[in-house]
């Protein structure tokens, strides 16, 4: 490391302007002393693909540092918004998507072809609307990335109309899956048998995520999965049976509109995080017949979405629970359920209330509970998500806040309105301002020690 301070590169503060003069002495490249891992660490902190890709033009060394091959459809987001608002027709939308699609495919192909024979890929992720028509293209991407010893493989194909791409074991059989640690599939047709093949041949798999697949009905493996930590099954409407042995499982997310699931997970001593829908949560609380329901007292994080207004009558003691999030879809029994969860979780630190539906005319029923003297000593943070500030939301929020005697902070995420629902600019302004005003109004009811954050 040079001791001469004048040799240090003269960097310019990001807010000031750099003059680009030709012929000025270029400072020595001090970052060249850094190993590639650190440059990759900087690279991966860049938030979007364009940023990361641009660094490949910096110099020869940077040319192939970019190993996280992430291709997404962010370019289509404005188009989707226009289509959603009715500004463009479905035909026009489909046409533009299809012309963007061919560009997208050649971009991915080029990136993969440019790799040197010994290069390896850390991550290969594709997010685009691609259906079964593109099977050979997608098969080819999977083969190439597996040959490049990919660690994290994600296919989010977002098929809206048309037949989904199907992942088959025939394709996978030609390659070693030993490098794979994360597999994430969305809108990909995959059966329980294919996943069983994958899991049995991936000794290092840590995370499995499957989303929006109707062909997935069960997941069973006979071999133990000692590395598996995170398992997520989302919106697979026909999924009803799981039988695996994952002794190191940490988190399980099962967001499927199904009130029962035959689950055998074996002993899960490190299991601390569960995310499920309301109906299945009630099933788990009522029945003590699977490894998940027997592990409830271990949970540190619990997220229950789409609570339809039924009473949670039998909540087991959640003595390790630190973070709880309830997704309120229907306000009926809201106060009752909040009290029941608070009482069941004496160590709770953060309580999130997510309002899944804003209904102006709903009241959170059960006024009698506002009079009870129960208080919670531990709760420090309350988060309100999708807050609009209608009567029922205010009522529920104030109720929880008043129960928490050691409350330190309340974070309000005001609802971002979707463009489809906003017809004129003035309505939009009115609707955007209102949740914030209501949040401020809620703030005036807080004790002075409580910090209010409005987002």
């Amino acid at each position: 490391m040079g001791k001469d301070r004048t040799k240090l590169i003269k960097l310019v503060h990001p807010n000031s302007k750099i003059k680009l003069q030709k012929g000025t002495n270029l400072p020595q490249d001090r970052l060249s002393e850094l190993p590639n891992e650190i440059l990759v660490c900087i690279l991966s902190s860049l938030s979007n693909l364009e940023e990361r890709q641009r660094t490949s033009v910096l110099s020869k060394r940077w040319r192939y540092l970019f190993r996280n091959l992430v291709f997404d459809d962010s370019i289509l987001v404005p188009l989707w918004k226009k289509y959603n608002c009715g500004e463009i027709s479905k035909d026009r939308y489909t046409m533009t998507v299809s012309s963007e699609r061919s560009k997208f495919i050649s971009r991915v192909n080029r990136a993969l072809l440019k790799l040197n024979p010994h290069d390896i890929i850390d991550q290969f992720k594709v997010v685009f609307n691609l259906d079964a028509t593109y099977t050979s293209v997608i098969d080819n991407w999977i083969s190439l990335s597996l040959r490049k010893k990919v660690k994290k493989l994600s296919l989010h194909l977002k098929t809206l109309w048309g037949t989904r791409y199907a992942l088959t074991s025939q394709l996978l059989q030609s390659y070693s899956l030993e490098s794979l640690t994360d597999l994430s599939l969305a809108s990909v047709d995959v059966t329980g048998e294919v996943l069983e093949y994958v899991l049995s041949n991936c000794p290092f798999i840590e995370s499995l995520h499957v989303q929006s697949t109707w062909s997935l009905k069960n997941l069973k493996t006979s071999a133990p999965l000692p590395k598996l930590k995170h398992l997520e099954i989302l919106y697979c409407d026909y999924f009803r049976q799981i039988e695996i042995h994952a002794i190191n499982l940490v988190s399980f997310k099962y967001v499927v509109n199904m009130t029962t699931l035959k689950a055998v997970l074996g002993d899960v001593p490190n299991f601390v995080s569960l995310s499920v829908m309301g109906g299945y949560a009630r099933y788990l609380f009522d029945n003590n017949d699977c490894s998940i329901s027997r592990s409830l007292s271990q949970l540190e994080t619990l997220d229950i979405s789409y609570i339809l207004g039924n009473r949670f009558k039998r909540i087991p003691e959640l003595r390790n629970l630190r973070q709880l999030k309830l997704g309120i879809y229907h306000f009926t029994n809201g106060l009752f359920n909040c009290t029941s969860f608070l009482k069941a979780s004496p160590m709770l630190h953060t309580f999130g209330l997510k309002f899944e539906l804003a209904d102006e005319n709903m009241k959170a029923q059960g006024n009698t509970y506002t009079q009870d003297t129960y208080t919670h000593q531990c709760l420090k943070v309350v988060e309100l998500i999708n807050f609009v500030g209608c009567f029922a939301q205010m009522q529920l929020a104030l109720y929880v806040i008043n129960k928490a005697t050691s409350l330190e902070k309340i974070i309000i995420h005001t609802k971002k309105l979707s463009l489809t629902k906003v017809y004129s600019e003035s309505t939009q302004k009115y609707l955007t301002a209102r949740p914030i005003n209501n949040a401020k109004e809620l703030g005036t009811r807080l004790a002075t020690r409580v910090e209010l954050v409005i987002l």
Binding site: L8, L11, V12, D29, S32, E33, P35, V57, L58, W62
Partner: protein
């Protein structure tokens, strides 16, 4: 950097470790701080293994690849890091919030040229949390900037053959949209 600013808290009874930088400045830091620097920890462990009888009070660890300026900043950062961790021992989320707040304030007082020095020092000392944080800071400093700006920032020269760079720019034309002006 004055050694005084890093002088030990007289009421604290914990062990001190002395670090000597390439520009011959001597820093006395608490053991807990020094142990966050994996390179120092390694040196310390090796020393102890080789010479079991020697006391730690006299150990002076030379850091031939670190200058006093970045080291002083790293020590301050490390102390604060440990303090925030201790204050929020039972709450990871709170700790992250406090840490984020501190890091934001921290960056206000750091010039970009110091970031490069800090990364080099944190890398040599193998101080992981700081290294991660500085990498994120560099990333946000070059966010949305042109290739020329980023080259200048890193002090790099293009070493492509004539025409090569233009070809790359053409290939990745999609990634050059929406770049800030220099």
């Amino acid at each position: 950097m004055s050694n005084q600013s890093e002088s030990p808290n007289p009421t604290s009874s914990s062990n001190k470790i002395t670090l000597k930088t390439s520009d011959n400045e001597v820093f006395e830091v608490e053991e807990a701080v020094a142990m966050k620097f994996c390179t120092v920890k390694q040196y310390f462990d090796d020393e102890n293994n080789n010479n079991v009888t020697s006391g730690t009070s006299t150990t002076l660890i030379p850091l031939p690849n670190v200058e006093s300026h970045p080291l002083a900043i790293l020590i301050t950062y490390c102390k604060k890091h440990l303090e925030i961790k201790a204050n929020n021992a039972d709450n990871k989320k709170e700790m992250e919030i406090d840490m984020e707040h501190y890091e934001r304030e921290f960056l206000k007082n750091v010039m970009p040229q110091e970031l490069t020095e800090l990364i080099l020092a944190a890398n040599y000392l193998n101080f992981k949390e700081a290294l991660d944080f500085f990498c994120r800071a560099v990333a946000s400093a070059i966010q949305n900037k042109s290739v020329e700006y980023v080259r200048k920032f890193f002090g790099l020269e293009s070493d492509f053959k004539p025409g090569e760079e233009e070809k790359l720019r053409e290939e990745f034309a999609w990634s050059f949209e929406g770049v800030d002006e220099d």
